[in-house]
Amino acid sequence: MNQFVKKVKQPFIDVANCLHKFAIALVDGDLFVRLSLVWMGAGFFRRKQYLKSFLITALEIIVILYSVFFASQYIPKFNTLGTVKQESVFNAVTMKKEFNDYDNSFMILLYSLVSIVIWIIFFVIYIRNIIHQYDLQKMAERGQHINTFKDDRRLYLGEKFYVVLLSLPVLGVVLFNIIPLLTMALIAFTNYDSRHMPPTELFTWVGLDNFVSLFSSGGLTITFGYAFIRVLIWTLVWAVFATFTTYIGGILLASLINHKRVRGKKFWRTMFVITIAVPQFVSLLLLKNFFADGGIVNTICANIGLTDFLRDIGVISTSYIPFLTAPGWAHVMLILINIWVGVPYQMLIATGVLMNLPQDQIESARMDGATSAQIFRHITMPYVLFITGPALVTDFVRNINNFNVIFLLTNGIYVTADQALANSQAKEVDLLITWLFTLTRDYYNYKMAAVIGIVIFVISALSVVIVFKRLTAGDREEVYQ
């Protein structure tokens, strides 16, 4: 607990230290340090680091130009997300209909966010620049060596090489991961949906309304709350079953193949790997047609009389077996097909682990007269669990978001009969993630999709936090180095 408090406190202490240094730099710094407040390159210029001076001045100018000419169009409207609706007006000069100078709520949201991120980064650079200038001044006063360009080059290929290595990947993550995620998070607090679509319409902030409509049983017409509970339960059931069936199946299959009396291990393994080497969109779309209402499996079942038998005992009421088109049937089929998809993967991993079993332990257990079942339960299983435990959690999270299996198998053929679900554009077989996808791609209901996205994140994060701590045996990285 103490450590936790320390961890939370640390960033604040860091920030306070930084500001403290900044204040000292301003008070004790010379003219050029203070001049750096306005002209960021001043300090570097004074210390004859001309290239650095030029670069940081260029950065300053770019940020200022960006703020004046670009950000200023969007930031002031951030609190309303725009007030001027798009209208076409007749222009007397050009004799054409033209759009007025309208606001685009989405652009305001996005560019304001981008500007804020840029400003925060710039602010950090700005503060650190002043502190750095003061350090340089002190170094100069003490007659210490000030880095030349050549020295800097050596520094950034040496102990600061990580800056070079990480800058591009981090930039990519910020642009294509963090900013989009923050945008989605903000959209959860707006009324951005099919009736409020930029550029023709505006959307605005609505506070927690979307969360309320997701978690309460809702109004009279749209019952998101009902659909949410149904989809959430199926998502969790799916994730548990999908994870454990493939995990246990994989270990069993691996130990079957790796049994010392089995011949042609490589052959068996390759046969299973072939099924996952076929791209999922091919194999899953194929299976969708394989099990279609009028598909080949149904023909075979009808020929051998299974369909009639099932109809006679009242399990089905149709002239075919609705493998992927009726609730219940579809749920079971999805889990079975997922076993087909997932077991070979798990088999591969389990094989790697089983090959490295502590043989001496097993031998001594056998000497003591343990049966193979006992060895499997008391030595093999705990060992495998210990090593693949963290991967199990990752698999669980991955299955919560297992888009491919559900979407490719049910998209276009599964139609829900439940009106309440249909009102919320959900289906019995939907996971949260496929529901989110349908809401955005087909119904443009971005606000609800964003809320569901946040819920998905919370569930994933919780399962990681709760389970991960127990399963991981500490950080292994130092041990092996």
């Binding site: 996005l110 050596r154 290929l157 102990e159 090489f161 990580y162 070079v164 290595l165 990480l166 591009l168 990947p169 990519g172 993550v173 642009l175 294509f176 991961n177 900013i179 989009p180 995620l181 945008t183 989605m184 959209i187 079957l256 193949i257 009396r261 089995v262 299973f272 072939i274 080497a277 791209p279 091919v282 194999s283 194929l286 047609n289 080949i296 149904n298 023909t299 087909w340 591969l348 790697g352 682990v353 490295n356 090593i387 693949t388 991967a391 978001n401 888009f403 491919n404 993630i433 996808f437 971005y446 996205g453 998905i456 994140f457 994933s460 994060a461 292994r476 990285e477 092996y480 180095q481």
Partner: protein, 280 residues
């Protein structure tokens, strides 16, 4: 060695399982050689065998089937993604595994958190960002989508680099080598297995991905599509009866190179996932 009943049972069980696992694949291959263009629903194997669907697919391009163009598009996107992703993954893995700096743990934690968000989630926003930059329906945009945040997939490579003995690097430092030199001359050459893994797995992404491609290339111009989009389109209800065998033929044609790459890769995949722990 005496043959026991349990051995026979074991092999029989394996055989049954393999048959179950392989049936859909057999059906895929068999159907692709059918002369009939629609889905064969009455018999498992096609009534008449022929190469028509392959011929149509490869040499008769129309608005629906542009397989050579899709293959080329996917190949270009995959190659670009492969180069960028591999570079990013190696860079991040080296920085987090072999170097110690102040924000290292923080960055790694942020990475773990970001990995919890499914990519579909942020895609809508990415789509709008690319749209405002005029990069949707553009292969360059799709390459960016695949590769820009690939640095987040550094964990397996990092786990591998963790097992490279630090003494090797320290010896190089003492000889006066810079960090960059150690990276290029020692760690990268020693990480060959994990580089093969990263190269193949990032090359495979555009071949396997369907979701991001549908979102990003949505203009309906079929010559722009990737293989996944094109093949999926053939299963449209309107086209199913005329194009199902072509879908199967396309599926077989894509699967062959991918399977080969995948089988090469899986060895490294296992090493990567279980790597550090097993070696100890």
């Amino acid at each position: 060695m005496k043959i026991k009943i349990s051995d026979v049972l074991r092999h029989a069980l394996l055989l049954v399982l393999v048959v179950i696992w392989i049936i859909p694949i057999v059906w895929l291959v068999a159907t692709s050689f059918s002369k009939y263009t629609g889905m064969n629903t009455s018999t498992f194997f096609p009534a008449e065998w022929g190469l028509t669907s392959y011929k149509e697919l490869l040499f008769n391009s129309d608005s629906v089937t542009q397989f050579p163009a899709w293959f080329k598009n996917t190949f270009i996107i995959a190659s670009a993604n492969c180069v960028i992703s591999t570079a990013f993954v190696l860079m991040v893995a080296y920085a987090t595994s072999c170097m110690r700096f102040k924000l290292r743990k923080t960055l790694m934690n942020i990475g773990i958190t970001l990995n919890l968000f499914p990519s579909v989630l942020s895609m809508i926003a990415v789509y709008f960002i690319l749209k405002s930059l005029n990069l949707t329906n553009n292969h360059f945009g799709l390459i960016l989508v695949y590769s820009a945040s690939s640095g987040l997939g550094y964990l397996i490579a990092k786990g591998f680099m963790d097992t490279i003995p630090a003494s090797l690097r320290e010896a190089a430092y003492i000889d006066g080598a810079s960090e960059a030199r150690v990276f290029f001359r020692i760690v990268v050459p020693m990480s060959r297995p994990i580089i093969v893994y990263t190269v193949i797995s990032s090359f495979l992404v555009p071949w396997m991905d369907f979701v991001l491609a549908t979102l990003m290339l949505n203009s309906g111009i079929s010559s722009q599509w990737t293989v996944a989009l094109g093949l999926n389109n053939m299963l449209d209800r309107m086209l199913l009866n005329t194009h199902f065998t072509m879908f199967c033929a396309g599926g077989v044609l894509v699967s062959i190179p991918i399977s080969i790459l995948f089988i090469i890769m899986q060895k490294f995949y296992v090493e990567g996932v279980t790597g550090g722990a097993v070696k100890g």
